[in-house]
Amino acid sequence: MKPVLILSGLGLLALFAEMFRFRRALYPLLLIGVAGAVASAVSYIGFDDGEMSEYIKTMISFDAFAIVASTIMLVTLLLWFVLARDFFSDENNVADHSALVLFAVVGAILLTCYKNMTMLFLGIEILSIPLYVLAGSKKTSLSSNESAFKYFLMGSFASGFLLFGITLIYGATGSFDLGEIGAAVSNKTVLPGYFFAGIVMLLVGLLFKVSIAPFHFWAPDVYDGAPTPVTALMSTVVKTAAFAAIVRLFVSPVFGGVSDFWLPILGVCTALTLVIGNVTAVVQTSVKRMLAYSSVAHAGFLLMAVASGSVMAIVNPFAVKGVLFYAAAYSAASIAAFTVLLIVGGKSGDVSIDRFNGLGKKNPLVAVVMTIALLSLAGIPPTSGFFGKYYILTAAFQGGHVWLAIIGILGSLVGVYYYFRVIIAMFFRDANEETVTATSEHQGLLFVTAVIIIVLGLLPDLLFNFCDMAMVAMQPVQ
């Protein structure tokens, strides 16, 4: 609860900054505030909220899973704020931008700790609505507008499905509470047919939101069109939050009891996503768009963990931990990659692959960090990305989805192809005239993310033991 309050308060503060004219001081305040939120999230490991009122407990529980997931998101957010320094440089909308980002993150945190369908729905909407706007925040750019609109349209369309699913489940079980739904699920005899229709609809809604094939088609356009910092936010924090939400429903005992029903659906979707995401990423010429498609593929990987997460209410430990680790690794690498995109894109924002030609000579630091990030995305040891993939593949094997694992492996092989095109361009092709310079903030950020990627790659236990705690939250409550 504390991080939620801190972030909401920060959002209000941002709005007050506009009113009381301290916009210049806002950015440092935000950094401090988000750092505070991180601290408060971490502090839950030692201390919990204490006795909370019944009404809060039934809606939100900041259990270990939520702590880990939100810590990952908040740390990413902190890094993101450094990445997006420019996004907050315009005096005219610094307050709006920061308030919207913070509100979105409030939604993201709710998604990690909800105990009730109401909170799931609200969390998703609180997360999405500011993002629609942020995606369109470059108002004069048509592609930004388009991105916002597509995102909005698909988001609200998906909300419809999600709600219909929630409704049917409510009708079948008589409750919005996850615990009660789980209890009803475990007593399967009374479940009417439309309960399963509800699960399908809920699933469709959620899959839409996280851009899983065949509901993925909007994602590349949206990621491509949105301003780069926003894309970075979408592919890190938002993705983590959405998957945390899915894990809570499908890997936990809530729907775990009927996993034989939804597993095939998830399996097929995972396979499709891995194939489509990777294959279409190959033909892209814009690096941003390539990253967009690859993020679809990564979503497929994460979904693979979900698909192998729960077999008849027995939770697969690797799946939960795998999702968290993968999300963390992916976030770190994405932050690095998008920072490089911002640096390379410069003023024009053009990030076609040609712009990367000869970057290795022009600006070795940027090129090396980009390489590390891309290696991590491709899942090559000793980067953190490898361990993410490793845990999820292990989970898939353990869940008995060998075929999914193989598709995943083949997919990441294709992934290597498009990631390495960028590396080849950076080190092999001849440089053009333009110089590429990074601000000191960005340099520092690149350094930090590179260190994170490598350290997590060499000593994954640092995070993985942390993730271990999250498992406890997913076990059925007896």
């Binding site: 609200l122 388009e146 349209l153 369309f157 909300s159 219909f164 009708g171």
Partner: protein, 105 residues
């Protein structure tokens, strides 16, 4: 006289499903962004109706309270969506979503 006694819940489910399906169809069918938004609203309303029906049949007020949240969200969504639409219109002078294909491919 109360609907509880004479109308089976199935009727409401089917009605909602039909309305919802119509909304989905509209979203897929139409190109005018405004009408697509309206169809989304129709979908949400189908959900609301079903929630209210379930709520009454279960004798549980939570369903109706949930409807209020959906309404709040719908209002927020529409406000944002229309704002986006107007920004687009300022740039393109059209609301046909197929014009919005600059990003394709």
């Amino acid at each position: 006289m109360n609907s509880l006694q004479v109308i089976p819940i199935d009727w409401y489910i089917i009605l909602s499903a039909v309305l919802f399906g119509m909304g989905v169809l509209g979203v897929l069918f139409r190109r005018n962004a405004l009408i697509i938004l309206m169809c989304v609203e129709l979908m949400l309303n189908a959900v609301n109706l079903l929630l209210a029906a379930f709520s009454t049949y279960l004798g549980d007020a939570k369903g109706q309270v949930f409807v209020f949240f959906i309404m709040a969200v719908a209002a927020a969504e529409v406000a944002v969506g229309l704002a986006i639409l107007v920004t687009i219109y300022r740039n393109t002078r059209t609301t046909d979503i197929d014009f919005l294909n600059k990003l394709k491919g």
